[in-house]
Amino acid sequence: MSPARHASIPQARTANLVVKPVAGEVLVYDLERHRAHNLTATAAAVWRHCDGRRTVPEIARAVAEDTGTSGDEQLVATALAQLARARLLEAPGAWAGVSRREALRAGLATAAAVPLVTTIVAPRAAQAQSLTCTVDATLCTGSCGAGNSCTGLSEACCAVVTGGTCCAVVT
């Protein structure tokens, strides 16, 4: 495959990514950036067919077969742009430039306005549980008793140790 052809064919990134299907959508967690992205069924289908061999029209046809939609190529381009911005494609720079403006020009106001890929975060309490601390860390102040609990620790309490306070977290 020539470099020019390679550059014009989208390929999904697979390294250091994990996925979880949730109610018709797909969550993708980026282990490098520690960010989770939610892919609609359409975006997930586009991402799945970015195998480095299919062109955009071929992806559109494959998505149409998967989702039973018309498989519009501009919609695929919009999904590719959003996937690229979420760093879920190899060489994302080649695809991130397909803008909402182009989709709007083509009259696809819905495609341009509706996010197909959204970045999501876990609720604050769960995030706090993922904090790490060493034995002598002083992230926790006070004890867990008498209403002085460790903020954000839903599974364990800090323990007062000789020379300081240590913090227990669920890792």
Binding site: L31, E73, R105, A109, A112, V135
Partner: protein
């Protein structure tokens, strides 16, 4: 023939004329399209003017009889150039805007563009080929045949028509711009309403759980393979090697990308490691994606019950079960971590090499003890003053639990532990509670197991515990046999309370 030639010239002139006028009114878009087609950036501005002028001149040349054949040749050259440019872009997979008719019809190039250009090309070739001697009557003859006064009126009428066309094009352009602005506003409103300006918050987006503590009994399961044959963890362990459970799915692209490596691992490490791929979904989809990937150890869950029991809710994820049936690793997520886990396990440097693990997993040379290291000294009086020494507990696994009576998370776990003491699971370890607080508070817990006091958390610190409730398993030889479990779920897992997964059988048709 002559009427056909005349008609073909009119069609070509109309199309080229419309394209030329539309491009002149959309010079920026035309320049953008020319650049996308590969025209030099420096010249696209000039070309955006020159091209529509050439199109208009060509259209005009097609009308009078004398110049029509030359006009057809020019149209042929123009259309051949357009068709070649579109074909080359499509071959490269490019789908940029054509701007063939400016703002009148902005659309990405595609097969339809080629078909349209091909049809026009055929018309131009027809006129050029068949109309050299006589391309048909002049389209302007009727105008020239009029008396001077009427000719002037007709010219004014044509000029008015042209102006009306310009007004119509501009109106169309303005309406499109208005539509674009409205769509943008709608998009912004949608984003504001849905809070899409900042990342949405969802429970299931939590970072991947590392799973149950190393040293906890691995949850037993029985799942059908792709042929419908039942396979259990017990049967896999009976092969005498550590078992790598690889959680995957047929719709998981990162999993599919790992398939060639999984095949290689299964082949190269067959003597030291059993690999089982735990998937879900339709058997046919799994057959298509994973058949033979891990020998005949491709197992299908009903849903995600096995992955849930191992707290491996993202794919690809992998965990190693040691030959003793205890977990020998945390869940590794993603291709890089799984490669490392496979390499460590296959080389014997991981915790799975023997029953409870090896010192190889110890990460802190001067910190708390690692897997396989001797447990730190633990000698304290019990609540009744009797001396208690962990060394006296040898001969059976012991779970050392770190506790604080005032800790609400400990209080929530207390009832579960009392039930556990009343009905311990098979092969459950003994319990030794290391707690703070007063004798009275600890007696009030009602534990049957021995409780010793550890003011200042010195013992907990020596074992690497960082809070309460937490626990660590010490084997019958007095060696560390688990990582430190933190939180109720993991403490109970080390105590042998693991999820019971109902067997899943599947009929093969």
């Amino acid at each position: 023939m002559l009427p056909a030639l005349f008609l073909a010239r009119l069609v070509l002139a109309a199309v080229l004329g419309a394209a030329g006028v539309a491009k002149l009114f959309d010079r920026a878009g035309t320049a953008e399209a020319l650049a996308a087609f590969g025209a030099p950036r420096r010249s696209v501005t000039a070309l955006a003017v020159a091209l529509p002028v050439v199109e208009l001149v060509t259209a005009g040349t097609l009308l009078p009889r004398r110049a029509a054949w030359w006009g057809a040749l020019a149209a042929l050259a123009l259309l051949a150039t357009f068709t070649a440019a579109v074909g080359r872009a499509l071959a490269r997979g490019q789908r940029h805007d054509c701007r063939c008719f400016g703002q009148l019809r902005p659309e990405p190039i595609g097969a339809g563009t080629l078909v349209r250009n091909g049809a026009l090309l055929a018309l131009a070739a027809f006129v050029a080929g068949a109309g050299r001697a006589d391309p048909g009557p002049s389209a302007l003859a009727w105008l020239l045949a009029l008396p001077p006064g009427e000719r002037a009126l007709a010219a004014i009428g044509l000029l008015g028509l042209a102006l009306l066309t310009v007004v119509a094009v501009q109106t169309f352009r303005l309406s499109r711009q208005q539509g674009e602005i409205l769509a943008r506003l709608a998009g912004i409103e949608d984003q504001l309403e849905s809070g899409a300006g900042r990342p949405a918050e969802r429970e299931e987006a939590a970072p991947p759980d590392k799973g149950l503590p190393v040293g906890a009994p691995a949850p037993e399961f029985e799942l059908p393979d792709l042929q419908g044959e039942p396979r259990s963890l017990g049967k896999l362990l009976a092969l005498g090697r550590p078992v790598l459970l690889l959680f995957a799915g047929p719709a998981c692209d990162p999993c599919l990308a790992l398939v060639p490596e999984i095949r290689r691992w299964a082949r190269e490490h067959a003597a030291t490691l059993t690999i089982a791929l735990v998937s879900s979904g339709e058997a046919a989809a799994n057959q298509a994606k994973f058949a033979g990937v891990a020998g005949d150890h491709v197992l299908l869950q009903r849903g995600s019950e096995v992955a849930d029991a191992y707290s491996a809710r993202w794919t690809p994820g992998a965990v190693v079960v040691g030959r003793s049936g205890r977990l020998a690793s945390a869940v590794a997520y993603g291709d890089a971590a799984i490669r490392t886990l496979v390499a460590e396990t296959a080389s014997g440097s991981g915790a799975a090499a023997n029953g409870h693990g090896q010192p190889g997993l110890r990460l802190l040379r001067h910190g708390p003890p690692g897997l396989g290291d001797p447990a730190p000294p633990l000698a304290r009086p019990g609540l009744d003053g009797t001396p208690v020494d962990l060394a006296d507990y040898r001969g059976r696994d012991t779970l050392v639990v770190f506790w604080q009576p005032q800790c609400p998370h400990c209080q929530r776990l207390a009832e579960d532990l009392r039930r556990w003491e009343a009905e311990p699971p098979r092969n459950a370890p003994r319990l030794l509670v290391v707690s703070s607080g007063s004798i009275q508070d600890n007696r009030a817990l009602g534990f049957q197991s021995t409780v010793v006091l550890d003011e200042g958390f010195a013992i907990g610190k020596a074992f690497g515990a960082r809070g309460t409730p937490s626990a660590i398993l010490v084997d019958a030889e007095g060696r560390i046999a688990s990582t430190v479990a933190v939180g109720a779920r993991d403490v109970l897992a080390l105590a042998g309370v693991v999820p019971i997964i109902p067997p899943f059988t599947r009929e093969v048709r």
